[in-house]
C-alpha cells in the first residue's frame, strides 16, 4: 500500500504525536508498505528518508499558548505537490481539528482519508466558533480513529459522528528486553520509585508526588525517588525538608534506552498526572518493562490500566492517598509481582504488531471501493457559473 501520513507538529521537537507517527511509519515500512510522512521542519534538520519537509512552522499565539503552525500559500502548495506526487492509496492525518498542517492536508486532498484524534480538549469557544469552518474539511474524513475510549467520547460530543478506538502503540519487546541498571534498582536497604515527565509542568503531577514523599520516607525509610525529565530541579524539591532532598535523584532528559532501563529497574512506577491526558503511553511503557504501576484515577489512565486490574489507582491530586498506596505496595512484594504479571499480559494489546494490524485494517476498509488520494481540484468560478469552455 502507498500510505501518506501528515504530522501536524514540528519533526525536530520531541512529542507524543511525533513519536507515534515515527513508530507507525517504521512499523509499516517494516511490513513492506511505501510510507511518506509530511511534517513541518526546519530545512537544516536531518530527516529520516521517509519524511518530507513541509517547511518551517511559524510560532503563533493560539489557545493560550504558542503553537507552531503551517499555513499560507507556500505550505498549501507544498501539501498539494506532496499529495499529487505521492499518489497514495490512503492519507492518514493526525490532529485534524487544530489549525495545523493536518487540516491543510485535509482541505487540499480528496479520496480515502483516515484521521487520528490524539488529544481530548474540553469543548472550547474557539471550537464552537470554528465548527462551520472546520466542518467542510472534516466531512472528507472517511474514517476516524480515537486513541482511547475517553478521546472518542469527547470527539463524539464535540464533532458528532463516530470513531473507532485504536490505542497508541508501543514496542513492548524493546522495553521488556532492556537491561536493568543496578544503581537504579532497589535493594533490602530501600526500594526505588520512578517518575518520568516534565518537572516544571504541574499537569504531570510531580508536585503531588513530592507532597506525598515525606510520609513515604517516614514509613518506608531508604526509599529513593528517581526523576527523569526536563525542568528546574531546585524548585521541584524546594518544599521538601533539607535532609529528605537527597532521596530524590534527578536524571535529567534520558534517552529511549535509558528510559527503558529505568522502567526495568524501579520497584514502582508512579504516574501522578492531574489531567489533560487522553491516553497515557508512559503507563504502557512502564507495564511493558514490567514495572508495577501506581497512577492517578484519570479516565484515560483507568482505561489503559484495565479499570485498575493491571495497575493500582489512587484518587487524583490526593497526596495522602498516593502515599498510603505507595507505602503498602512497597511493603508487599507479592502484590507487586501480581501487578507485574497482570501488566505484562495486559500490555500485549498495545504492541505495534496488534495496533499496526488494526490501523492497516482501517486503511484497507476505507481504500476498498474508493479511488486513490488526489489533490482536491476546486471548481473554478467560471465552471461554477457554467462559463467554462470545455
Amino acid at each position: 500500500m502507498r500510505i501518506g501520513i501528515v504530522c501536524p507538529y514540528s519533526w525536530d521537537v520531541p512529542g507524543g504525536v511525533q513519536f507515534h507517527i515515527r513508530d507507525l511509519a517504521e512499523h509499516l515500512i517494516g511490513l513492506g508498505h511505501q510510507v511518506s510522512v509530511l511534517a513541518p521542519s526546519d530545512d537544516e534538520t536531518p530527516l529520516p528518508p521517509y519524511v518530507v519537509s513541509a517547511g518551517r512552522a511559524v510560532p503563533v499565539p493560539y489557545n493560550g499558548s504558542v503553537a507552531r503552525l503551517n499555513f499560507g500559500f507556500l505550505s498549501a502548495a507544498r501539501v498539494r505537490r506532496w499529495v499529487h506526487e505521492g499518489d497514495f492509496d490512503v492519507l492518514h492525518i493526525h490532529e485534524p481539528a487544530t489549525p495545523s498542517l493536518a487540516l491543510l492536508a485535509c482541505w487540499s486532498a480528496q479520496g480515502p482519508i483516515v484521521a487520528t484524534f490524539h488529544t481530548s480538549n474540553p469543548r472550547s469557544r474557539i471550537m464552537i466558533a470554528a465548527y462551520p469552518i472546520l466542518q467542510p474539511a472534516l466531512e472528507k474524513i472517511s474514517a476516524r480513529i480515537a486513541v482511547s475510549e475517553y478521546a472518542r467520547r469527547t470527539l463524539v460530543e464535540h464533532l458528532g459522528g463516530d470513531a473507532v478506538t485504536i490505542p497508541n502503540g508501543v514496542d513492548v519487546d524493546f522495553f521488556a528486553g532492556a537491561e536493568p541498571k543496578s544503581e537504579w534498582q532497589g535493594g533490602p536497604e530501600g526500594r526505588t520509585i520512578g517518575f518520568i515527565g516534565r518537572i516544571d509542568e504541574p499537569r504531570k503531577g510531580l508536585p503531588v508526588l513530592i507532597k506525598a514523599l515525606p510520609r513515604i520516607l517516614e514509613e518506608a525509610p531508604g526509599t529513593r525517588l528517581l526523576v527523569a525529565g526536563r525542568g528546574d530541579e531546585e524548585e521541584a524539591v524546594a518544599s521538601l525538608p533539607e535532609k529528605m532532598r537527597e532521596s530524590v535523584e534527578f536524571l535529567g532528559m534520558v534517552s529511549d534506552e535509558d528510559k527503558a532501563r529505568l522502567l526495568r529497574s524501579v520497584d514502582l512506577y508512579v504516574a501522578p498526572n492531574t489531567g489533560g491526558e487522553s491516553f497515557g503511553i508512559i503507563l504502557v511503557e512502564a507495564m511493558s518493562a514490567g514495572a508495577p504501576v501506581l497512577a492517578s484515577d484519570l479516565d484515560a489512565f483507568e482505561q489503559v490500566l484495565d479499570g485498575g486490574a493491571a495497575g493500582q489507582l489512587f484518587p487524583n491530586e490526593q497526596a495522602d492517598a498516593l502515599a498510603t498506596a505507595a507505602v503498602s505496595l512497597l511493603a508487599d512484594p507479592e502484590r507487586r509481582a501480581e501487578l507485574r504479571a497482570r501488566g505484562t499480559r495486559h500490555v500485549r494489546r498495545f504492541d505495534w504488531s496488534t495496533v499496526g494490524a488494526d490501523i492497516l485494517a482501517v486503511y484497507e476498509t476505507v481504500a476498498d471501493g474508493a479511488a486513490s488520494v488526489a489533490p482536491d481540484e476546486r471548481i473554478g468560478l467560471r465552471a461554477r457559473l457554467g462559463l467554462a469552455r470545455d
Binding site: 472517511s142 474514517a143 476505507v366 474508493a370
Partner: protein, 182 residues
C-alpha cells in the same frame, strides 16, 4: 444613479449566494460519494465474514449442531433481501457468538490443517465489520446533518438522491476472538 448602484449590489449578492449554493451542492455530492464507498466497503466486509463462516460450517471441524447453525445463519446473511439484511447479519453475529462462546471451539478450528489461517481470517472479519459499519454510519450522519440544513432543503440541492439511512445491526464479535491480549 442610486437605482443602478442598488441593482449592481443586488446582482453581486445574488452571484455570491449562487456560488455559495453551488459550493454546498459540491460538498453534498462528495458526501454522497463517501457514503457509496463506505457502503461498498461494508458490503465487502459482511460478505467476507459470511463466506468464512460458511467455509467453517462446511469444513467439518465443528460438531454437527454448531455446523448447521452456522451454515444456516451464513447462508441467510448472504441471500437476504435488502430489507432483511440487517436482521440476517445480526443473526449471523449471534450465531458466531453462540458457536464460539468458549475458546475450545477456536482451538479446535486452529488444530485443523490450515485452521490457523481460517481462525485468523475469522477474527479479522468479525473485527472489521463493526469498523466498516461505524465508518458508514459516520458518513451517513454527516450527510444527514447537511441535508437537514435550510439552504439544502429550500433549494433542493440534494436533487433526487435518497435520504441516506444508517445500517443498524448487532455486530458484537465473539469475546474469544476479540480478545487482543492473545
Amino acid at each position: 444613479m442610486p437605482t443602478l448602484t442598488t441593482l449592481i449590489w443586488i446582482a453581486v449578492a445574488l452571484l455570491l449566494i449562487g456560488v455559495y449554493l453551488s459550493w454546498t451542492a459540491g460538498r453534498l455530492d462528495r458526501l454522497h460519494a463517501r457514503i457509496d464507498a463506505a457502503r461498498a466497503a461494508l458490503d465487502a466486509q459482511l460478505l467476507r465474514r459470511a463466506s468464512i463462516a460458511q467455509e467453517l460450517a462446511t469444513a467439518g471441524v465443528l460438531d454437527p449442531a454448531a455446523s448447521i447453525v452456522l451454515y444456516q445463519a451464513a447462508h441467510d446473511a448472504r441471500q437476504a433481501e435488502e430489507e432483511q439484511r440487517e436482521v440476517a447479519e445480526s443473526e449471523l453475529s449471534q450465531a458466531l457468538r453462540a458457536v464460539f462462546a468458549e475458546s475450545a471451539q477456536v482451538e479446535a478450528v486452529r488444530a485443523a490443517p490450515g485452521g490457523d489461517e481460517t481462525a485468523g481470517e475469522l477474527a479479522a472479519a468479525v473485527r472489521r465489520v463493526p469498523m466498516a459499519r461505524r465508518f458508514h454510519n459516520d458518513s451517513v450522519r454527516a450527510a444527514r446533518a447537511l441535508r437537514r440544513h435550510r439552504k439544502v432543503r429550500w433549494f433542493r440541492l440534494a436533487g433526487h438522491a435518497p435520504f441516506p439511512l444508517a445500517f443498524e445491526m448487532d455486530d458484537g464479535p465473539p469475546p474469544v476472538l476479540a480478545d487482543r491480549a492473545q
